[in-house]
């Protein structure tokens, strides 16, 4: 009888998707609503003529050129640097590679406007560098070059983090095979390694380009005329919102094009072989190789980490010693904490039904829901801000200039973060576990609170922490939506930097960095213990 049981012994594939209750759908739709509002508002504004204003073609061409030029420059430099750092820290025997990898990633906690602040505070006659070296007056770098530098510092960690997995999964035996077939070291890199990395490079490039065209903080402080800066200029203090809306719609179109290209590439970005047989040779670095690597990493870390932190501390201590007021930095911090925490909790709670629908439902609409959660995430935040202002003024007047609207904006923009971590957590829970609870006498609702949510908790916590971190740093949407006088840390830094009060801006920045480090540490600790 062995033949029968052998043939049939593969267990039947478990049915992972089940019919789910209607109220899950209702809750998911409710949670998805804020995300859809900005895009719908902008599309509505175009259709009803609210976003049709004549912007002079010359002005438009200038903004477009400026924006794309900056995007190209930042993308080129940060991708080149990020690929270099990820290669050196994962594929060579450089001593201390791991520590350098962390140091390269650390500037991630610095928002672009803080980088801009440190640039402004470093140069000039009162600048920290001038003061330290005394003799020459180090110039203040602003405009195109300032924005380029600030955003490159901001973008390198993203490229580095994106490239490390791809590079560490590269199969070096392919490189060896090319060498064995007669290629030179450079030839093998050019014909084998580089093409294998091309999808990663392309995806990183588009991501950096998207960050750059969306950035408001750095370009506004460093006075480089891009779309986001023009939108804010058109918006601030004007009664006619149509020019700002028109520019926002154009910027949205550019961003959407970049996002679509990025998603297409990412789908193809699975060249790397990941199987037990792959070999991972580590490149040996000679003394010269080490010297060059340490020099490069040293310069990068000096510019992206040491100088900014030094400048912030120098301005704050200088201000403190001369008896300057630091302002209401603790009150600002409390406001930032409040709205960010509210957004984190809201995003975590809302993610529960959405994740249930995405992971568990077996209808064809579930994948659509997953895509919809991304609707606002990739939009430039200033566009989301403009859209929600318009929405509030025209449809939901009582919410105009309320903190609730700020939280809604955060929820709209950062929802995919918690949905992602919640879905990952839910995928690890067998639906049988919930069925078991049902057949043990618990209702569907009781099962949610006693089984589903407790088991999803780590994912919800991690996602919530990330939302908190991102919301703390958010500037443009907060700037447009906040109630009058509602100064968060981000706004205080931006406003005081613009007015030249670098001590107050520095103090707020240090508080922001310290608070941001807490959830980051929590997430890192969780990953370590996972």
């Amino acid at each position: 009888m062995t033949t029968q049981s052998e043939v049939l012994s593969q267990p039947a594939p478990a049915q992972k998707r089940r019919p789910i209750a209607r109220w899950w759908w209702a809750l998911a739709a409710l949670g998805l609503a804020p995300t859809l509002i900005p895009t719908l508002t902008l599309v509505g504004a175009v259709l009803t003529g609210g976003a049709v204003a004549s912007v002079p073609a010359v002005r438009l061409a200038e903004l477009l050129t400026n924006t794309l030029l900056l995007a190209a420059a930042v993308t080129g430099t940060s991708v080149a640097i990020g690929l270099g750092t990820s290669w050196v820290t994962t594929r060579t025997d450089l001593p201390g590679a791991r520590i350098f990898s962390i140091l390269v990633t650390l500037p991630l906690v610095m928002p672009s406007y803080v980088v801009a602040l440190t640039l402004l505070g470093a140069g000039g006659s009162r600048g920290v560098i001038t003061e330290l070296f005394g003799l020459v007056s180090f110039p203040t770098i602003t405009g195109f070059w300032g924005s380029w530098l600030a955003l490159t510092v901001f973008a390198v960690p993203f490229v580095h983090l994106g490239a490390v997995p791809a590079i560490s999964k590269l199969d070096t035996s392919l490189d060896d095979a090319a060498r064995g077939l007669g290629s030179s070291r450079w030839g093998a890199f050019r014909t084998v390694t580089l093409p294998l990395l091309r999808p990663t490079i392309a995806a990183s490039s588009l991501l950096v380009a998207l960050y750059t065209i969306s950035d408001f903080g750095a370009v506004s402080l460093l006075r480089y005329d891009t779309f986001t800066r023009a939108i804010y200029a058109q918006f601030a203090g004007r009664i006619d919102r149509r020019p700002a809306l028109t520019l926002a719609v154009i910027l949205m179109a550019v961003a959407v094009a970049v996002v679509i290209a990025e998603r297409r590439l990412r789908r193809k970005a699975t060249y790397h072989r990941n199987r037990p047989g792959r070999t991972q040779m580590v490149q040996h670095l000679g003394p010269m190789g080490r010297l060059w690597s340490y020099t490069g990493l040293g310069v990068l870390i000096t510019v992206s980490l040491v100088i900014p932190v030094t400048v912030l501390i120098a301005w704050v201590s200088r201000g403190l010693s001369s008896g300057q007021e630091l302002g209401d930095v603790w009150i600002d911090a409390a406001r930032s904490l409040g709205v960010s925490l509210a957004a984190a909790v809201a995003a975590a709670v809302v993610a529960i039904p959405i994740a249930v629908v995405i992971v568990r439902d077996r209808t064809r609409i579930a994948p659509v829901v997953e895509t919809l959660t991304w609707t606002s995430y990739s939009l430039p935040h200033i566009t989301v801000g403009i859209a929600l202002v318009t929405f509030a003024l025209e449809i939901a007047r009582p919410f105009y200039q309320t903190t609730l609207l700020v939280v809604v904006a955060y929820l709209a923009m950062f929802l995919p973060i918690t949905v992602g971590t919640a879905s990952d957590a839910l995928r690890r829970i067998s639906p049988d576990t919930e069925d078991a609870s049902r057949s043990l006498g618990r209702s569907a609702l009781s099962t949610v609170f006693r089984v589903t949510v407790p088991l999803m908790a780590p994912g919800l916590l991690a996602g919530g922490a990330l939302v908190f971190l991102t919301a703390m740093k958010e500037l443009p949407a907060t700037l447009l939506l906040r109630p009058n006088g509602f100064e968060t840390l981000a706004i205080r830094i931006w406003a005081t930097t613009g007015e030249g009060f670098y001590t107050r801006a520095g103090a707020a920045s240090l508080v922001l960095l310290a608070v941001s480090a807490i959830p980051l540490a929590l997430v890192t600790l969780r990953d370590l213990y996972d």
Binding site: M1, T3, Q4, S5, L8, S9, Q10, P11, A12, A14, Q15, R18, P19, S430, D432, T433, D435, A436, S437, R438, S439, L440, G441, R442, S443, A444, R450, V451, P454, L455
Partner: protein, 348 residues
């Protein structure tokens, strides 16, 4: 199906589960198609069939996780699925042991077992008794991740038994266990269920497992129960050639029946059928007698130690397999006689 009633129980009140004309589709695929089943109290019934025959769906419909398009299910005389009734799983008094056990990973063994016990007054005792019964006393405070696969399964069983359900359903409970463990775990599980005087329905694709542990076996194919009977009856009197082949090794030879007899190269057999028939022979019902004058020739021999499988050809070219004890010594090309103890005929 009244002929499957064991030991004199005959009234519907003795039925733990009564399923009638259940139909369930997933899009185009038909999972259940006029599914009928009777499960008698205090016994073990096994649903067996090839993958995709609908056995897991049947279990899930009985448990209340899926609702059928058509048909009724009664549990202990109470309708839980029907035109006017769709009782949710939590009110069916059905315990379930899942293929992957589905223990709550964030709860200890004791908390897992206590989860379904509603009554606060004797929860402690019930949890204690259930854990004792499955032999896991002392492991109450462990988390599921700290237990072996076999121990996890016992927790799943204790958890299902603790609320004292009317019936417990077990979906492929042995498929995640090491082959070497299975036989022992199977016996233990059977003993526990018998001791608890519980009614159990197993689902498996392993016919040997089904025959070994059940009081009744229901064979499923294409969403239907094709035969439900005691293991012995099922094995010795399958309703058709497919069931015969599914339950164990069988060879089939064609024949022509006339006046209650069918003649074959291995002898004549009595048959209730007339005309063309198929005669089913199980290897263990065929004895091999070495004899230089024999009409059969040995073509192959596989020696397993406890027994051996001898393949022979008959003059007409018919190939048959015979299972005999290791004492019979034969070699390929040797001439033998075959003696057939039992044969079943089906209309061809």
């Amino acid at each position: 199906m009244t002929d499957q009633t064991p030991s004199g129980a005959s009234s519907p009140e003795h039925l733990a589960i009564r399923a009638r004309s259940l139909t369930k589709r997933y899009g185009e695929a038909v999972a259940l198609d006029d599914f009928n089943l009777d499960v008698w109290s205090a016994g073990i019934l096994t649903l067996v069939g090839p993958s995709g025959c609908g056995k897991t769906t049947a279990l899930r419909v009985i448990a209340g996780f899926e609702s059928p398009e058509h048909g009724t299910v009664d549990i202990r005389g109470r309708q839980v699925v029907g035109p006017d009734a769709m009782v949710p799983p939590e009110r069916r008094r059905v315990g379930m042991v899942f293929q992957d056990y589905a223990l709550f990973p964030h709860m200890t063994v004791a908390k897992n077992v206590a989860y379904g016990v509603a009554s606060k007054t004797d929860r402690k005792r019930r949890v204690h008794d259930s854990i004792e019964m499955v032999g896991l006393a002392g492991l109450e405070d462990r988390l599921p991740s700290e237990l072996s696969g076999g121990q996890q399964q016992r927790v799943a069983l204790a958890r299902a038994l603790a609320p004292n359900p009317d019936v417990i359903l077990l979906d492929e409970p042995f498929s995640n266990l090491d082959a070497s463990l299975r036989e022992r775990v199977r016996r233990d599980l059977r003993d526990i269920i018998k001791e608890a005087k519980a009614t159990a329905v197993f689902v498996t694709h392993d016919q040997e497992e089904a025959l070994a542990m059940s009081d009744m076996v229901a064979v499923m194919r294409n969403g239907q129960v094709v035969q439900a009977a005691t293991p012995r009856e099922l094995y010795t009197a399958p309703v058709d050639a497919w069931v015969a082949g599914f339950l164990g090794d069988a060879d089939f030879i064609p024949g022509y029946a006339h006046q209650g007899r069918v003649d074959t190269p291995v002898g004549a057999f009595a048959t209730p059928h007339e005309g063309k028939v198929t005669v089913m022979l199980r290897p263990e019902d065929i004895s091999v007698i070495p004899d230089p004058d024999g009409d059969a020739v040995v073509v192959d021999r596989e020696f397993f130690g406890h027994d051996q499988l001898i393949t022979v050809t008959l003059p007409g070219g018919t190939v048959l397999r015979a299972r005999s004890g290791s004492g019979t010594v034969v070699a390929p090309d040797q001439r033998v006689w075959l003696k057939v103890g039992h044969a079943v005929t089906f209309p061809a």
